[in-house]
Amino acid sequence: MRSQDVESACLDHKGRPVVAVTGMGVVTSLGVGKSHNWTKLVGGQSGIKRITRFPTEGLKTTIAGTVDQVDVKPYSAFDLSAAIAEAAAAEAISEARIGSGSSFPGRLIVATPPSELEWPHLRRLHDADPQRDLGGYARLLANARTGEFADMARHVRFAGIADRLQERFGTQGEPLSICTACASGATTIQLGLEAIRRGEMDAALCIGTDATVHPEGLIRFSLLSALSTANDPPHKASKPFSKKRDGFVIAEGAGALVLESYAAARARGATVLGIVRGCGEKADEYHRTRSKPDGTAIIGAIHKTLADAGIAPETIDYINAHGTSTPENDKMEYLSLKAVLGDHLRRTPISSNKSMVGHTLIAAGSVEAVFSLLTIQTGVLPPTINYDEPDPELPLDVVPNVSRAARVETVVSNSFGFGGQNVCVIFSGEPA
């Protein structure tokens, strides 16, 4: 490239720095690392299985996409979420070959699950001194005052995971800990993109992680009628866009991306895995768990994303769906896409990774970003499995059941969450 071409390739349609992805890492119920995950994902394999981590007697849902390949014993949401975030980040940084092992030249932006005491912790605190003439929280507080349970502090520190990752990878500045519910992973990418565009930094480490398959973690989604109860066989439960979809399958995972200004990446000779073309979000004021029936918030998020990326709807080659497999989400996602893409939607393949890895909640936007970029890289569309009975109301090419080769230049990845969170990201390949 001539130098002025290089220069113009480093700025986008609004004159902002182009932002590249130079490293990726992922952990899901399918395994640890991109290679394991991608082979299984394009092979249409499911990571959903019967829960063995805790007894499931009396539960309506007894299946999940737990991460069992990372050895964290005893399980806690903090420890496993932190461990898989570390694994994903290590893979991403190693691929990006950026910084030194202990110093990442940019900020950490990490989406993390709730920080809370779990039942084993509450029981340990409660049973510490059974002689006490106290009950409930008075007893928990009295025992906590002994100072003997300081090791539990990490579970209730909301930036505990960020702190651990910052120490391990030597990221710069105060790390950001994010929650936008099931859009969180996408929000980390958006925050990184915006910061690099502002010129504040050349690189950002964006991570989403969630390992909250514990009794209360499952029951609270079950009580919101969000989970599939099609327990048998487990791998058939998550069936996005199909007629008999009945809820999502709760799952665990982590995804990590190294974002870098394209100019900085080129200058150091880094391999560019893809470009973050744009992000957009629109909050919904309709309901705590449901989208506005006319889809205007989701539609707004998609429009804003297209405008940010500076591309027309017709140039979208593939959609990595939020596709949770709940009746509500998949319908609203279809209606909103239809409103924006019109007839082009019929020609645009759209698949849901959640049919295989379940809904990794806080991590979903990160995990699916990695899979979106792998789709561009490999030219293979991962399928939507369990698409046995299409929903006639949702006429979509969901890449049913079997993966497909396709040239993909531009991908939209959707992420929607409770609390009216709607975030979309557009990725594309490196400019030729």
Partner: protein, 404 residues
């Protein structure tokens, strides 16, 4: 390159143990002496808390069905957010609300304490503890309780109740969550990525499960309430206060265009996270302060200290302030935690609110305690440094200045 936008504070919503609204806080805090802190030492003994003033939540959240689906921390936050939007003249303007961006700092909401107690009392004797727990939780948890607990559902409820729906981001991490949320909004305004933001946080301090978390993190002060600086010789610790603190931040051009008057402007927000070996936090804050490029020759600096009372963070902050004085800076220090209590995610916003009020009224505050740290001074500084030394980790500084 276009000129950087200035960040104006055009609306404030503050509720605390002292009262409701920024005006009432101004009246109580701008007297000759600071008001007696409102403290409840009984309800959560041996801990003291600053309880929220009685509010009629229906004034901001008219529908009881909405109130029912929120936990108290969310009601406090939604209430204060409504005050801020009204104060900024945004609350009735659907077009403005539609593109109001939210940057919220939040922890988790409250648990069902009675259910927890019942399960803890029964599970030890259960034949199958796992099955017992499943049964009790499935039957006992209110189906929508989780929506009262999720961090981002303060933002979600603000969107629902006040129709502020531009974008919505929730930051976590106790005190630093507030710094990060403001920092994000400020940078987006300066960088032309947004014009109108609602930022803030809320804490319901009056809950056992929150106190438990703070106790495990070894942050709570036990015993009769003392001011932030006067806890030092007793090991330190925080005394929590219920607070909802929200600000409307706006690009100067945007505010001018719609004729909105500013309280003050946020000149800079800076943050970092040291590993907290001895001296780390003081050195980090000093480095951040250096980046503000303030000179001692330009008059006194008001310091609104977010000190929590937790050691060694409070001691590190005093070291930092002493180092500034050694460099010739004349400081007037006030730690608002002594009167409002410490409010974690909401704390930094409350400090910015008080700083903005002081700048706009051209009146700083009388000492909030009787320690030697806060001496009486009639000067009215036009630049106020708002500090945050996270009780565990994280250091943040904000500089609030007069617009004029």
């Amino acid at each position: 390159m276009t000129q950087r936008e200035q960040v104006w504070i055009t609306g404030i919503g503050l509720v605390s143990s002292l009262g409701e609204g920024i005006e009432e806080h101004g009246q109580k805090l701008h007297g000759e002496v600071s008001p007696m802190p409102i403290i409840d030492s009984q309800r959560f003994a041996p801990y003291a808390v600053h309880p929220l003033v009685e509010l009629d939540f229906a004034k901001q959240i008219p529908r009881t069905s909405d109130q029912r689906q929120m936990e108290r921390w969310q009601r406090i936050g939604v209430y204060a957010a409504g005050l801020a939007l009204t104060d900024a003249g945004v609350s009735q303007d659907q077009k403005l609300l539609d593109r109001t961006d939210l940057c919220i700092a939040a922890g988790n909401g409250e648990r069902d304490l009675a259910l927890d107690a019942r399960i803890l009392a029964g599970i030890g004797a259960a034949d199958q503890p796992g099955a017992y727990l499943n049964r009790e939780l499935a039957a006992g948890l209110r189906p929508t309780l989780y929506l009262g607990q999720l961090s981002n559902l303060l933002a979600g409820n603000i969107s629902i109740i006040h129709k502020a729906t531009g974008s919505s981001r929730t930051f976590k991490g106790e005190e630093m969550a507030g710094v990060s949320a403001v920092e994000n909004a400020v940078k987006r305004i300066e960088g032309g990525q947004g014009e109108l933001f609602l930022v803030g946080g809320a804490l319901n301090a009056e809950r056992d499960d929150l106190l438990l978390g703070c106790e495990l993190a070894q942050g709570l002060y036990c015993g009769p309430c003392r001011s932030v600086w006067q806890r030092r010789d007793r090991g330190g610790g925080f005394v929590l206060g219920s607070v909802g603190a929200f600000l409307v931040l706006e690009a100067e051009s945007h505010a001018r265009h719609r004729g909105a008057m500013p309280y003050a402007r946020i000149a800079r927000i800076l943050s970092d996270r040291s590993r907290r070996r001895s001296g780390d936090a003081a050195a980090t804050a000093a480095r951040l302060f250096g980046a503000l490029k303030l000179g001692p020759e330009n008059g006194k600096i008001g310091v609104l200290s977010g000190a929590s009372g937790v050691e060694p963070a409070a001691g590190e902050e005093l070291q930092f302030l002493a180092s500034l004085r050694r460099h010739g800076f004349d400081l007037i220090v006030r730690a608002w935690g002594s009167v409002l209590g410490h409010s974690l995610e909401a704390h930094f916003f409350a400090g910015l609110a008080l700083a903005a009020l002081a700048v706009s009224k051209e009146a700083f505050y009388p000492p909030f305690d009787t320690s030697e740290v806060e001496s009486a001074d009639e000067t009215r500084p036009d630049r106020i440094l708002v500090t945050t030394f996270g009780h565990w980790r994280g250091e943040g500084l904000g500089l609030v200045r007069s617009v004029w």
